[in-house]
Amino acid sequence: MKNAFQRWLDGDIDLMANISDAAREHDHARADIKERDKKIAREIDSRRETVLMIAREREGLKMVYDVIAVICCVLVILVFMYIIAQLPLYGAENVRATTVAERYIEHGLEETGAINIVSGMILDYRAFDTLGESHVLFTALICVMILLRVDSKNQRKGFEDYYATMRETYFASEKDTILRTIGIFLVPCIFVYGIYVLLNGQNSPGGGFSGGAIMGAAMIIFTSAFGFDRVDRFFTLKLQTYVTFVALSFYSFAKGYVFFTGANGLENHIPKGTPGAILSGGLILPLDVAVGLVVACTMFGFYSLFRRGQIGGSLGRINS
């Protein structure tokens, strides 16, 4: 007899067999479901012998799988360690592998206008990769939205009272004095720090991704301290969509413009500015702001979707 895991891999076993495809099953009163569960439990109990037997058999096979898995992992680790020991040492003289890095370090400042070489690299030398990377986040947000945003297909009818109670008791953070008091002091500081990191990406370590993450964290703390009602007043699905849209399309078109002028040998008219000043590094600052906004919106979007299945106050979508 094959192991359940093996059968799952083959696609023979259907873990969702007990979960109905239609939302219809959830229409049942919860009492009915409870009753059925009890019945199933009784049935299993009455066949304790067979259950135990199957469990024992599974245990044996599982051990074989575990052993094979461990052996495979150890083998892979050994192969990698053996190969990596043959690579040139870190920091050792290695002419062929450092030509590109040397250019970034030696000419990065004059060519990109950014003191922070990392920013210059990701947003100027290899901006195309970062263009893709910022859309990865956006894609992730869209996927989570598809999975979690409440709609006619995935809402659990008949559980409304349950969720209402949960919201009142478990999530009622407004009554939490400690959280609120600390939040009043902490949230503005974190916000300002996030903005600082965001705006100084071209001069010091930081930039769009890290600054945006800090701002997103501030939003999350604010929400858990003061509740969704306050946040809904200014952060709606509409705002989130518009911000993401403006930021990402600005990113695409600004970088598209630079790619276009660069490849065609035209001048791109974007001033580099004095290195060290806030307004320096050409497009790096505006791109950092765009990325930061997207990251902040995405982080808060994840939080909001995971906690209550929607972004912003209304359940509807932006254009309905």
Binding site: L9, G11, D14, L15, M16, S20, D21, A22, R24, I83, I84, Q86, L87, P88, N94, R96, A97, T99, V100, R103, E111, D124, Y125, R126, A127, F128, D129, L131, G132, H135, V136, F138, T139, I142, C143, M145, I146, L147, R149, D151, N154, T241, T244, F245, S249, S252, F253, G256, V258, F259, F260, G262, A263, N264, G265, G316, R317, I318, N319, S320
Partner: protein
Amino acid sequence: MDFICNFPLFTIVLSLFSGVLCTMLKGRTAKYYTLLYEAALIAMLAAVLVYTSVNGDFTYVMGEFPAPWGNEIRAGVLEALMAMCFMIIMMCSILAGWKFLVIDIDETKINLYFVLINLMTAALMAMIWTNDIFTGYVFLEILTLTSCGILIVREIGRTTLAAVRYMCLNLLGSGLFLLGVVLLYDITGHLLMVPMHATIAEIFYSDAAMKPVTLALGVLTIGLSIKSGLFPFNFWMPDTYGWATPTSAAVLSALVSKAYIFLLFKIYYRVVGPQIFETLPIRKIIFILGIMSMIFGSISAMRKKSINRMVAFSSAAQIGYIYMGIGIGGTLGYAAAMFQILAHAFTKSLLFLTTPRLAEVSGDSLLFKNLQGSGLRRKDAGLYFLVGALSMVGIPIFAGFSAKLFFALAAADSDNLRILFLTMTALAISSVLNAMYFIRTLIRIYSSGRGGADISAPQQFAHMHNLESDVPDSRERVETMAGHLEYWIPMLILVAANLILGLNSSAVADLIQRGLMMFD
């Protein structure tokens, strides 16, 4: 530099922008917008194809910094041909699957589906054009996420389960790919394909570099073959393709897995170079795995009870052909593999867009026992399925036959007798197996009489559980002429493409070979 040289950049940036724009549109508007801009994309790609076949290939610097420092994309005949065919299939899948998209996806989320489709288009374009292996990785991530997204969008338990499994394996693949990229970067110090190739060609035969490069390539190969579903890693296929909404199934099987293979092939050909690649053991391994995939995929397909799962496993077999072609090696072998990518993409999308229509007149069931006579009840879909099945089996005048012929020619051309023998045997066995399950299906759907179920599967479920059924008898509804046209036009385009690939295969093969020559 001619203005047409900017078109590859435009296809990527426009697709990214369209993806973001679709969050602002309503479902139906998003659909029309997507179709419109995809038509523009196809026109641009056709222009690039004509331009490159006249003027040769070109590289395009992304920004002010040339090759080893900045990003770069590259366009040749092969890339343009692939991109154009991919976009045609994408457009046809959206049109022909629209009816089921409306049923399968919640109304408020249809625009999000098009967001994902457009981002996927951007990723496909970037992976085809890229001349930089890290760019390949970034857009491979977008492709991974969007492919899980368009699977999960149906929001039934089974697609969620399938998507979780698909995502776990895909992430494993991405991780391995990234490891390979890191190793190669560490050895060569470059991420762009051309300088990387120059360094590898220079140092490969030194003791210090041979093993790390081989390991890096092995890791890259395993990563991408998990993602594209080569033999030991193809167990995710039936659930992923079988439960997705038809457009997603068509796009996932026809385009996404092919894009991974195309990237892998680009790495073999443009980073490692054919001379070095043909001496590596990896080539033999993927040759053997390709053959095993052909045979075991078909055997698994024969054992399936549902038509979608059968078609999904036949994908595994067809992917095996592509890997076998790469394993045979030589210009002819690679050209045959590229031809098979196109042939399979056009045929598999055709099949996945047909099966739900056959199921529709069989009580919404994809099980063979219920499908009896469905080809007679739904004549148009039956006909398209016939074309797809004949092409898969390898009947002359269809694309599948030419592909098999090219594999045989490539094997005959290689001077290795063992490869010739293995290829011929594998082709023979696999063709017979293909014929067995596809012709069995054809007989099933064209024999008269109604299959087992007179009532729909949801209704059966309702009866079994003593529920009051609010499910209508079947998803079939009276279709307007516009609805028919929306299905017929894309399907006829796919059939026509199949016939063109089958009847005019030498012209397409010529194009592919010219593209391969530009690759060096």
